[in-house]
Amino acid sequence: MNLLLVVFDLALLAGLIGVAWRCLASTDLFRAVVLFITFGLLLALAWVRLEAPDIALAEAAIGAGITGALLLVTLERLRVIIAGRRSDRPDTVPPDPSGPGAALQALHDPPPEPRTRLPALTFALVVGSLLVTTLWHQPDAAGLEPVVDAHMDASGVDHPITAVLLNFRAYDTFLELAIVLVALLGAWSLGRHDRIPARPAPGPILPGTLRLLVPVAVVTGVYVLWAGSHQPGGAFQAGAILGAAGILLVLSRPRRMPPPPGTLLRLGLGAGVGLFLASGVYGLLAGHGFLGYPPGWDYPLIILIEVAATLSIALTLVALFIAGRPEGDDRP
């Protein structure tokens, strides 16, 4: 049993390293994208083996649902942009080394061979030996697990990860939510979104799949959010699942999506950070410290913040996938 587990881990490790290597070394970008999707799957299995099912859940939602679609669409957008620029200037046959033709070449051609592998080898050796030294001196301690376990009754929830994320280290989670929002503001500041390139997919399969899958995804998202208070799950995972459902809708009918009402969209995007901040400031004023919960109110407040955060994360992921401000949204 233990021997088989070791064999399983070794095979998983070999697969992870091999896929990562081929993904980075691939000259064909589409192949690299497919390898990256595979890498996400193997990584989720690795998190399972590291006894971190929460992270495996997040990796499953992000890796399987969102990153693959995002990279595939980005690759196609890149092709459309470069092909469009090239057809603007058809007479530039010898591609200018800094021009758009060179970028198109880079999509297909292998990069020039490096003259020497010595710098890379030295770098890898130095970083590798540093990592090994760090691992060598790692104290054989259980980390912060006993501390968290000792204070679980004060947290208001039953799942230690949720207790850490939304109570003991709420500050980190708050800033993470803020970073997600800032990332979206950065994307929006770059301009309005282009059309997502899409080819016709006639037949009943796509609409039928959507009709079956999107409701199931919404129910699963809500379930994962609810499960977060006592088992692996929570706002980030649920938000990623709901976001993936939204991306599925965007992908299936890119030209038929009605633009969302701007005020509601902004309210939804900011709800997580806003509610978290409001609760934190209330805690500060009421004398429980910034982001502290009043006694007895920790469970309802955590659930409320998680619901708002899930909504914000899902909306932000879809908006980041579309990239760029919604159309008809150019008020000064």
Binding site: L4, E51, R199, I241
Partner: protein, 106 residues
């Protein structure tokens, strides 16, 4: 029984590693994408087996999310690369040219 589950999980992991050949060699993008989608299916089975082996019921949720969301990449692929033309009906092309605009309506 645990030993059997673990052996099956190891076998499935082996099939994923073997299937990587299809991703690396191709030749078409469809071959590569299909291989990755099948990895997703094997991954779901591995997760379910591991949830029995490691006695972690939460892994069933991970498998559920994987099974549910593997479709997103497939839909993205179909939307970007289009569906292959049916090969055995060459006359259809003359009578029904593929529409220029994507038919988003159901």
């Amino acid at each position: 029984m645990t030993l059997f589950y673990l052996g099956a999980a190891l076998f499935l992991l082996g099939t994923i590693l073997l299937g990587l050949i299809r991703v690396l060699r191709g030749p078409g993008s469809g071959d590569r994408m299909l291989a990755a989608l099948l990895f997703g299916t094997s991954g779901v089975a591995i997760l379910l087996l591991l949830s029995m082996v490691l006695e972690t019921p939460a892994l069933v949720d991970v498998a559920l999310v994987f099974a549910l969301l593997a479709v997103v990449a497939a839909v993205a692929f179909v939307r970007q690369h289009g569906l292959p033309e049916p090969q055995d009906t060459p006359t259809r092309r003359g009578h029904h040219p593929p529409p220029e605009e994507p038919s988003d309506d159901r």
